[in-house]
Symmetry: C2
Subunit: 813 residues, 2 copies
């Protein structure tokens, strides 16, 4: 008898509101792919999807090692010059989290028997996933299972699992089978281009071995020539009387432990799995590496490893937490976003931070500009070492980026639109190669990191070459037109529904920042710059380009043009799309039609208003925001957070809250219906941005941190901490006032340069400069920004869920 | 011993100049792919590449049945909405032209032994390919071979071969093996996207049979579900004493004839092959069809069939010939172009005319807009029934075009960019789906045919639905902007280096012709139009769109913009492309870079100046032509002919001659280095256009034929005939005067409405209306157009060959 498991957890409000826990009561099998993503654990190096311990049923089995991928040919029915020939796809590596259980003669499988209770809890404060379950087998035997799982932050290669079985009402024979499994069957993905290509049987067995409770599997890939080792070992406590067995084959290893439990007896298993991979090191080296990690883990034991994890998380949250007083659902969601952003980057250590982190195979496991413009703002302000490492990864791919620029007959370097190891893997150039803004995004992240840390080693070793090569790119990509302006034509900005356009404002302004920033850094590292062949004429050219960069403006509409000529285009028929249930448009409309009309997939000009906000007046921001809002369909998960930031800045606080909710709840509510492929890390990080840059009004355009605090209706307080040049700055916003506090011992000296802006100091108001000394606080009052326009509406059918329910509530009032 | 066969035929001037013959003396094995294309025979239904009778050596074996294709999946590494999933590829069908010969014990293979003489001659006047050869076998035996081959114009399904062997100096045993071979091995094509995909073993055996000298093979395709039959039979005359054998297998059939020849004895074989194919008819029906054709051919015999061929060609040339006095090379080349255009369309009979005709597998055997805008102008004026049939083919695909429009959420119908059976087969939308002008091109061809024939049945049955559905397309594709103009955004005009642009002048003006033409035809067929649901409001909308269509103009440069904003773009660095040997640019530069700069692949605005010439003043034409010439790299074979036409109109007659030469010699000189895939039929037809519309100045904008005769330097006369509304109009241009003559008996009545323009009557000059009566002539004087600008130059490295050699001659003087 099989039965579908759907109980007690409605699709909306699936997870009870709790400040630190994501708790799932019951189990909805149809939601498994999504819950596996939500309950994924990762330290940025190893990632486990939240698959059930026993493997079956599963939505999508997933175990990932950062940057462990296979190559695959990219097919083109009509190829063109410069098209990448080879793609990279993240692999589902050897699964070490699998533990099966035989209860009397019945395999524990939740599709059979009866689930008496089932609860999974992600503890975001401690970085542990807990599971409790009472199951009654088809033959009527009850067992209680309690498992804990963590991916160690302290120990990069380590997965630790505590697995406890208790007999409930009568004696039961149990057989635990703990496994390593390579080349698991992964279900075929949909035809949706965003879904990863599956590489079948990508792992070739190289070596295997085992003794007692320990087993090793070593595999390699054929195309990418990478090797990986997975090692498991076990510490078992059980009543007397047991027998064990170890079997090791090419693609699997199984440790079997058979015993019998009287009621309340417990079988208590700690399983450690250590992973290692390399493109360089030999099999013996890999074998030794995973064994060393294992011995050290066994030495620490489960309790030791778990305590380390709690310490690491406590340290992180201390400089990263956000507290919202007045909206518990968003409190939970924002912490969820911070948690997963941290998991994605914490120990990536000069590997890419993919768009899905290590939570699923979506987008082939590729990293995009998401990292630099959405995840790194958060990490720079909360875990700057992780941010530095992510940027060192980019810098490590500079050679591939130089080669790509050469292929395209451009100077300098151009970073790939999507990649794992630095090679361009985008097979559709209008939304790939043409999106040159990725280079300005990398430069922006580099410059941001420098502003926040003042890290001179990084500036010399990483920032200088990256900024120089990207500046060279921009100089060769653009040209001075007959109007004297510096134009960058034929590029795709953030809005992927307006590809291959001219003078995209966001691209142009961030390119200008890139060019100026490069010239500034060159001036500080003259000798090193000379080694890169930089001349004074060259930096003068960069500055001239930056100073004259074109910023298209429509006099007729009194707004900036997202790109040249944009406001003259026909406006998309949103009513028809709403009527035809055609969102997201990319699945129902052709590129040709999207590109030629005023329809915006995702924040584009709004991104410029945020990240180059010093180039716009308050009135321009208000008018621009109001113009683009009704055109922006948010078919990308990268949109809502930026709209929240700008909505807050121009004074539409309820709208800002609705967008914050969309960004932060993207995955908890599975808003885009594709959470099964992995989480939308950028949107989750964007939740933090929406709070801190939105309601906190935090900007870092110059060498001071600027804040313009506000609270939306219903919020009584907002409190967040950022790390700035070695200090923890805590910003606590109350109903009328804000307190800036720098933690620490006043005797250590130092201060954080803060500029406080109040709503009424709108544009001309330069704000009040406060140098907040270590160990001290400064309190200031704030007032909300007075909106200069009506609250703009969204395209038909695209009102954000929160705003919708608010307005429904209102009409019900 | 093998040796390379290269003698007596240098790469340039390979074929001796001759007014009616293409004669190859010797055999250059490295040029075989190209010569097989040049010597291809076709009637539009069956096509044979000019493969050697004995099959080996070959460049690319090829036998084609119009529209006999296989489907194949179109792969996309990143798919998008509306991308076609399935492509169509023309098949190399059962080869019936194969005749091998064993000379004593030695197979006749030109790579062995000694070629004493070898000559192939394409007789364009009669439509027959002749071959004469004396070969000395490795063992020293001489034989003379004389073969003739034709694809019958009168008998659609029939291939006829005369094969004669003579012993030269001693008695020789000969064995002739005449074959049908299905699924021949075809060499892999290059990675060049323009080269056809090869479908291996596409023919599945269905039935076979044979008796005496006759054999039948029936095959089907798996994906496209088509069936074909090939039947061969033989009439043999030989000295006494022979033995024959027939073998028939699934994929081949072989008739063997063994005899001995004394010196001067002749083995004389006539081989007939008849082909039939269908997606509907049964195997017995196909078998009967090819057998009936065979019996009829046997009844006529070789002499009868050949006489029919000569009659058909004589009839065609009588109303189609062009005579050039003063340039024998171009005389030959222009006739070559007319010959192959006629071969491509003569008996296509409601099948597509592919871009390569039936001369090779290039472009997968697809038809493009080439047909309507380059080949049909020639056929409309020389073989109007063939033109009508080609357009009936388009009309027969209206349902697929409606469905495609539906997929794209557009009204009406949109014809595919490339296809065999009417489905869109373009896998790259910026140069496929976006090239909506194909619809206006179809409409232009329909309207042109109506003007030239007044065919009312066609107007009602074909023109009305095609024009209505394409007008609906334009109305839904474009919009009235805030400026009141009708804009068509995001389309690709003829210039494929400026894809996805707004308000392409050519597209807009031809769309306007389409809209107006549709409204006019609807007014004439009111009842039938009502059946199509056309309302008065709808036609009023069409006229309003046509009347207000946007025609972008740059005041700064005083020229029209190929598309909106074009003249503001950066100009391509042609010097660098020349230095880097980067032409054709599409093989060395990326689309992103080409699209965003002023670089024109092929005549685009020039096409508008030609085909919508009534919308421009003479000064505009002169200025526009001068502006775009230095930007136009002619990386498409569709370019030079139009540039020739406009160069002549604006008075640059030497340049016009150079472009005419490029168009007409495209394949004879293998200018694009890809003639092995098949001929460039549009360029060849364009040679005719360059002469008739260029130097003849022929235009058909209204209900009169307009001529503005001119002769370039060195020409003493130009004489051409066109068929207009049932009459043969002969235009004979002498050094100072032109004679318009309508052939026929004056008693039959009727006249041709001609308008004569002389050069000095440039723009305002409305010209002199002459109604040339049947059987009469009118003579007028002409003067050359005075150029309003200097002769424009071409991009660096792209001076046309003729102009180059002229200028070299000059400097040598």
């Amino acid at each position: 008898m099989t039965h579908d498991i759907t109980d007690r957890s409605p699709r909306d409000g699936r997870f009870p509101v709790d400040p630190w826990l994501i708790r799932e009561v019951g189990l909805d099998q149809s939601f498994l792919p999504q819950s596996e993503s939500l309950f994924a654990l990762s330290n940025g190096h190893v990632g486990l999807r939240g698959n059930l311990d026993e493997g079956d049923p599963s939505g999508l089995p997933g175990t990932y090692l950062n940057s462990f991928y296979e190559t695959r040919p990219l097919p083109y029915a009509e190829a063109g010059y410069g098209y990448p020939e080879s793609g990279q796809t993240v692999l589902n590596v050897t699964n070490g989290k699998l533990i099966r259980l035989l209860v009397d003669d019945e395999p524990l499988d939740l599709r059979y028997g009866t689930i008496e209770s089932h609860e999974r809890t992600l503890d975001m404060k401690r970085g542990v996933l807990e599971r409790e379950l009472v199951w009654c087998s088809p033959s009527g035997t009850h067992v209680r299972l309690h498992t804990s799982r963590l991916v160690s932050l302290r120990r990069r290669s380590l997965v630790a699992i505590r697995y406890r079985v208790t007999a409930v009402d009568k004696r039961v024979r149990v057989v635990m089978q703990s496994e390593l499994v390579a080349n698991e069957h992964v279900p075929a993905q949909s035809k949706d281009p965003r879904v990863a290509a599956v590489v079948e049987h990508a792992l070739k067995a190289v070596e295997k071995g085992g003794k007692h409770a320990r087993a090793l599997l070593v595999h390699r890939t054929e195309g990418s020539r990478l090797q990986m080792a997975a090692l498991m070992d076990h510490v078992v406590h059980s009543p007397d009387g047991n027998i064990t067995e170890l079997a090791v084959e090419d693609d699997w290893a199984r440790y079997t432990f058979s015993t019998a439990l009287e009621p309340d007896d417990e079988l208590d298993v700690t399983k450690f799995v250590s992973y290692g991979w390399s493109s360089q090191r030999s099999v013996p080296a890999l074998r030794d590496q995973v064994t060393a990690a294992m011995v050290s883990a066994l030495h620490a034991g489960w309790d030791g490893v778990k305590r380390e994890q709690e310490d690491e998380f406590a340290k992180f949250w201390d400089g990263a937490d956000v507290r919202i007083d007045g909206d518990d659902e968003l409190q939970q969601a924002v912490r969820f976003g911070i948690f997963h952003s941290f998991q994605a980057g914490a120990r990536a250590e000069q590997r890419a931070i993919p768009a899905k982190g290590l939570t699923g195979p979506g987008y082939d496991g590729h990293a995009f500009w998401d990292t630099e413009m959405f995840v790194l703002p958060l990490l720079t302000a909360t875990d700057p070492d992780a941010a530095a490492d992510a940027l060192r990864w980019r810098a490590a791919t500079l050679q591939q980026a130089r080669e790509r620029a050469g292929t395209l007959h451009l100077s300098g370097a151009t970073f790939p639109w999507r990649t794992i190891r630095g090679h361009e893997c985008s097979a559709y150039w209008p939304a790939g190669t043409a999106a040159f803004h990725v280079n300005a995004d990398v430069a922006a992240a580099v410059l941001r990191y420098l502003r926040w840390t003042g890290d001179e080693n990084f500036e010399r070793e990483v920032a200088l070459p990256v900024l120089v090569e990207t500046a060279r790119l921009w100089r060769s990509l653009g040209y001075h037109g007959e109007d004297g302006c510096f134009h960058i034509d034929g590029v795709t900005g953030p809005d992927e529904y307006s590809a291959v356009s001219h003078d995209n404002v966001y691209t142009n302004l961030l390119a200008a920042q890139n060019l100026t920033g490069a010239a500034d850094v060159v001036a500080r590292w003259h000798d090193q710059a000379q080694e890169l062949g930089v001349t004074e004429d060259e930096t003068a050219e960069w500055r001239r380009a930056a100073d004259t960069v074109a910023i298209p403006y429509s006099e007729r509409h009194g707004v900036h043009e997202q790109s040249r000529g944009f406001t003259a285009l026909d406006v998309w028929d949103f009513a028809a799309s709403d009527r035809d249930h055609a969102y997201p448009l990319l699945l129902n409309d052709s590129y040709f039609d999207l590109y030629r009309k005023q329809v915006v997939k995702q924040a584009d000009l709004a991104l410029a208003l945020h990240w180059a906000g010093d180039r716009f007046t308050a009135e321009e921001k208000a008018r621009d925001f109001a113009y683009y809002e009704p055109l922006t369909v948010r078919d990308s998960s990268l949109s809502a957070c930026t709209q929240a930031v700008v909505a807050a800045e121009v004074g539409h606080l309820e709208l800002a809250t609705a967008y914050l909710a969309e960004a932060a709840l993207m995955d908890l509510h599975d808003l885009n219906k594709n959470g099964g492929d992995g989480l939308h890390i950028a949107s989750l990080a964007g939740g933090w941005l929406a709070v801190v840059a939105g309601f906190g009004g935090m900007r870092d355009h110059g060498d001071r941190l600027t804040f313009r605090p506000q609270l939306p209706p219903g919020w009584h307080g907002l409190d967040f901490t950022v790390r700035y040049r070695g200090h923890h700055l805590r910003v606590a916003i109350g109903p009328d006032s804000v307190t800036y506090r720098v933690e620490g011992d006043p005797d250590d000296g130092g201060s954080v340069p803060v500029t406080h802006l109040s709503g009424d100091a709108a544009d001309g108001g330069a704000g009040e400069d406060l140098d907040v000394a270590v160990g001290s606080s400064v309190e200031r009052s704030w007032t909300a920004v007075t909106p200069l326009t009506e609250t703009p509406g969204q395209p038909a059918g695209r009102v954000p869920a929160r705003a919708q329910s608010r307005s429904a509530n209102r009409s019900a009032d």
